[in-house]
Amino acid sequence: MTQPSQPQPRDAQSIRTGSDLVPAARRAGENVVAAVRGEIDLHNSPELRNVLLNTLLGDANALPNRLVLNLEQVPYMDSSAIAVLVESLRKVQRGGGKIYLTNLQPRVKGLLEIARLNAIFVIVASEEEALKK
């Protein structure tokens, strides 16, 4: 079954991640947009780390202004996934950028609040809102 495709800007380039955890990613100008899918725990957070830090943020000279992560299909994540997000944020911040988290599920939102990261990441309702801001 094919996934419904998101409307993309004309200059969007899709990025091949090779990971079921991040099935869709694209570069749109100076921004990178990626959808994450599945429960993330210590078992698969190294895979998320590899995709974010090496595939999407691997080129230190081309760090995005915005890394937009759509977490609509992430019903659960643990502290190891939070650690990956923080490590990615540090890297994006080196280039002066930000990470936007969109479409958060309640449990993920709750964990970010406990970790006091809800004010450090930019949390918005949708990808469109993240790209508009």
Binding site: E39, D41, L42, H43, Y76, D78, S79, S80, I82, A83, V86, L89, R90, R107, G110, L111, I114, A115, R116, L117, I120
Partner: protein
């Protein structure tokens, strides 16, 4: 001679509040017990002997979440209990076993006879370092290490590490109705 009318007795507000709390608590116990039918009673416990491989995390957290749900814990409680079990087991792998994925973990969870609290027991044979004995460290959101323990202390009602001669025993308890919920129920019943 007409009988003298007894003087009206005045009870302090604190006594009335106490009685209300007791009554609310008893109504919870009675309703919980009355809903239990031995023929359809939920499973009393989960017992698993697993290795420290993180591949086991999803299975165990789902099993304990299902156990809590079967005993009437609400969705928030089920999610929080599952997260705490996940974090505790991940800490065993990462810290007690230094990342080794083939070491034994004994896991058990059950609900007490009054159906009022869920209890978790996690035994490992690792380095025996007691997290309670470690010096407290300043919480920095950008340094997320230790978040698992923060979750345990915030989401469970009791967290107890007991060092063993050859490892560690972690016991956790989570009440079905936490104090804040009791207060909420009290106000809700009072309005009826």
């Amino acid at each position: 001679m007409a009988a003298q009318k007894p003087a009206a007795r005045h009870y302090p507000l604190s006594s009335i509040l106490c009685l209300c709390l007791i009554q609310t608590a008893m109504s919870h116990v009675q309703s919980d017990l009355s809903q239990r039918n031995p023929a359809t009673a939920p499973p009393p416990a989960v017992r698993l002997n697993i290795t420290s491989d993180p591949a086991n995390l999803a299975t165990v957290r789902r099993a304990v979440g299902d156990l809590a749900a079967a005993h009437g814990f609400d969705a928030t409680a089920c999610g929080e209990i599952a997260l705490c079990v996940n974090e505790a087991l991940a800490n065993v792998t990462r810290h007690a076993y230094g990342g080794a994925t083939d070491r034994p973990i004994e896991f058990a969870a059950d609900v007490d006879e009054r159906d009022a609290e869920l209890r978790v027991h996690i035994r490992d044979w690792g380095n025996g370092v007691n997290p309670d004995a470690l010096p407290p460290r300043k919480r920095d959101p950008m340094t997320p290490g230790g978040l698992g323990l923060v979750c345990l202390r915030k989401m469970m009602d009791d967290v107890r590490f007991t060092p063993q001669p050859d490892g560690m025993l972690l016991e956790m308890r989570r009440r079905k109705r936490r104090p804040s919920m009791w207060l909420f129920d009290l106000i809700r019943n009072w309005k009826r």
